[in-house]
């Protein structure tokens, strides 16, 4: 059964296309929502647009959908320039943040809507909607109305509806933000599974860094209408190019230090930490600011240790420790739960760099 459906959908959905956003600009009065933004997605790629609210990520997505008027720039889908094409003729599937199912139609009718508009025969429509409802695992709920479905189910139907028209590009605008944590993680994995299965080029907007890291082929971190960095989740997390990216994706400690050699920096009250000097060579003796992830620091119990434990919070597999020293410095360290049990409230602790500093920049 599943086998048959899979081959069916594969034959129905075209392979992903390339998408290019070139110099997109959008101004609201004097405020720039998009400042000449450039982004290229390769066929079948899932790109996450990540950033705080107001960074322009949703504007970019809506511009790609044709729902936002641009002040400048070009949108290319495949080799077609669609900049001037209205949303209804772009052949794009979109899932929205708020529940956007048509309340007057059943789940099945919602999925079939795009096909009905395209004048597809009703037998063809039924076949396609049955296929898609099966893909999202909601066949038994086909005849329910949106208000009879849970939030997660509604977003699944919205996904099926977006996919029914065999779109060239799939756009997801914070589709999980209204759901509770467990459903969110589940649906996130499901979206990725379906996206990989269909090989459809996909843009996913979110402000949740965990979601971005889990889903993306590449993450575009946006700030004030521009892409600050675009790279694989691993690179964005472990080699951020700017302070903003380092702080937005994951937690960081901000420390001051002095460069002591080509790839070592001496950090106050901690000691020597290694760093990757390839991109940012500094002269010895330069005063710098060092950004270090909580898990890149290690703790030793020693009589000469200056650091004291302030509080612990248990995160499951790891424990977050808040430390302070007599000069008032504060540092967050993340250890595995096993390691953390050894640290007690009155232990004298010293810190050391376990792995590379995330980012070193001139103070």
């Amino acid at each position: 059964m599943t086998q048959a459906t899979n081959t069916d959908s594969n034959s129905n959905i075209r392979n992903g296309v390339k998408v290019d956003l070139i110099g997109l600009s959008r101004y609201y009065k004097d405020v720039a929502a998009l400042k000449s933004m450039n982004l290229s997605a390769s066929p079948g790629e899932l790109i996450v647009l990540l950033g705080p609210s107001g960074c322009g990520k949703t504007t970019a997505l809506r511009a790609l959908a044709g729902l936002e008027v641009l002040d400048g720039g070009t949108v290319m889908i495949g080799s077609k320039d669609v900049t001037r094409l209205p949303a209804s003729r772009r052949n794009i599937g979109m899932v929205f943040q708020s529940y956007s199912l048509f309340p007057n139609m059943t789940a099945k009718a919602n999925v079939e809507f795009g096909l009905k508009v395209r004048k597809v025969s009703s037998s063809e429509r039924s076949k396609r909607s049955a296929e898609l409802l099966d893909l999202i695992g909601l066949s038994p709920q086909a005849d329910r109305y949106p208000h009879q479905l849970s939030g997660g189910q509604q977003q699944r139907v919205a996904l099926a509806r977006a996919l029914a028209i065999k779109p060239e590009v799939l756009l997801l605008d914070e589709p999980l933000s209204a759901l509770d944590a467990k459903v969110r993680a589940q649906l996130r994995d499901e979206i990725r599974r379906i996206q990989l299965e269909l090989g459809i080029t996909t843009f996913f907007v979110t402000h949740d860094q965990e979601e971005a890291l889990a889903l993306a082929d590449r993450i575009a971190v946006m700030r004030a209408g521009e892409i600050e960095q675009i790279d694989t989740p691993l690179s964005v997390y472990s080699q951020p190019t700017t302070e903003f990216v380092a702080e937005f994706v994951g937690k960081v400690n901000r420390l001051s230090g002095v460069i002591v050699s080509q790839d070592k920096v001496n950090v106050e009250s901690i000691g020597s930490i290694s760093y990757d000097s390839k991109n940012t060579p500094f002269q010895t003796g330069t005063n710098v600011q060092v950004l270090v992830r909580p898990e890149a620091l290690g703790i030793m119990i020693s009589d000469t240790g200056q650091w004291r434990l302030v509080s612990k919070s248990f995160l499951g597999a790891s424990v977050k420790l808040n430390l302070t020293n007599p000069t008032g410095q504060k540092v967050v360290v993340e250890l595995t739960t096993g390691e953390a049990t050894l640290i007690e409230q009155d232990s004298q602790l010293s810190l050391f760099g376990k792995s590379d500093a995330l980012l070193v920049q001139r103070a």
Binding site: I92, G93, F96, F102, P103, V117, I165
Partner: protein, 294 residues
């Protein structure tokens, strides 16, 4: 006062909570009963009066005389025609305007809402003369015919129809629904037909009913423009034959109420959630009509 009593009862902390709750309930039903009596007594009294003949005999002659008056049918027909025309014009004006405001210029919602209330503030005579002056240049097909009355009524009924439709639009996430429809390939006509209008059914119905009921009860403007509509006929009859006038107002009540009931039953069954809204709305209109005519 009622609300306060009920709240105390729900908390269940007061020693006599159950008693207080009962008292609150009795109080509410008491008020409801009083209001009901207030509305039903005049209708019953009118009904009794309309069946009263000479020497306290019971007769239906008031009704038979009315039904055999040709003017009864012609004025009723005219009023229904004007009513339907007003409803069509109102919807043709409201649907695109309100949808456009909500999608494109949501900041102006308040402004348009206040504009829609103006007919309540401006005396209807002024509105009447304004409409006539504005459409003076139009061909006689509008000026000399009841069409002008329909134009007047569209404006005069706007405070009711606009608010009803506007709040229905407010209740749905119009922008997201339209965005979703567009991304699925629907143009404006299909969007309106399959997505927007079906989800605004209760609002459309409410606006239509209010506009229609307004037309069937309006006297001043029709009289001013010397059209003998149903309410004008009613007043004319009242000046010569009291019992016929009362019979007529009861018939008017029935004629307004029946189509409303039919519409509500048909639409109410399809959409259970909007049912409550429309029923309560109809009750209000019915009451307004009663007090207006009697």
């Amino acid at each position: 006062m009622v609300a306060v009593t009920t709240n105390v009862g729900r908390d269940g902390k007061e020693p006599g909570a159950a008693n207080v709750l009962k008292l609150g309930k009795a109080f509410r039903y008491g008020i409801l009963g009083l209001v009901g009596i207030f509305f039903i007594i005049p209708i019953l009294a009118s009904a009794r009066f309309s069946f009263l003949g000479n020497n306290n005999t019971i007769t239906i002659s008031a009704y038979t005389q009315l039904f055999s008056t040709p003017q009864f049918w012609s004025t009723l027909f005219l009023s229904v025609k004007i009513g339907l025309g007003t409803v069509l014009l109102t919807l043709a004006l409201l649907i695109p305007t309100v949808v456009w405001i909500h999608l494109r210029v949501p900041k102006l919602k308040r402004v348009f809402e206040s504009i829609s209330l103006l007919p309540l503030v401006i005396p209807s005579v002024v509105v009447t003369l304004g409409v006539i002056t504005s459409f003076k240049s139009l061909p006689n097909i509008i000026m000399g015919t009841p069409v002008i009355l329909a134009l007047e009524y569209v404006i005069l009924a706007l405070p009711y129809s606009y608010r009803t439709f506007d709040s229905a639009v407010q209740a749905i996430d119009l922008k997201t629904l339209v965005d979703a429809g567009q991304s699925l390939g629907a143009g404006w006509i299909k969007l309106l037909r399959f997505v927007v209008l079906p989800n605004l059914r209760s609002g459309l119905l409410g606006a239509a009913i209010l506009a229609f009921a307004f037309c069937l009860g309006e006297f001043a403007v029709a009289s001013l423009l010397s059209f003998t509509t149903f309410p004008v006929f009613l007043v004319q009859v009242g000046q010569v034959a009291a019992s016929q006038a009362v019979a007529l107002s009861l018939i008017a009540l029935l004629f307004t109420w029946m189509p409303l009931a039919v519409i509500i039953i048909i639409f109410g069954q399809r959409n259970a959630s909007s049912k409550k809204k429309t029923v309560s709305l109809a009750t209000t209109i019915e009451q307004e009509e009663t007090t207006g005519i009697a």
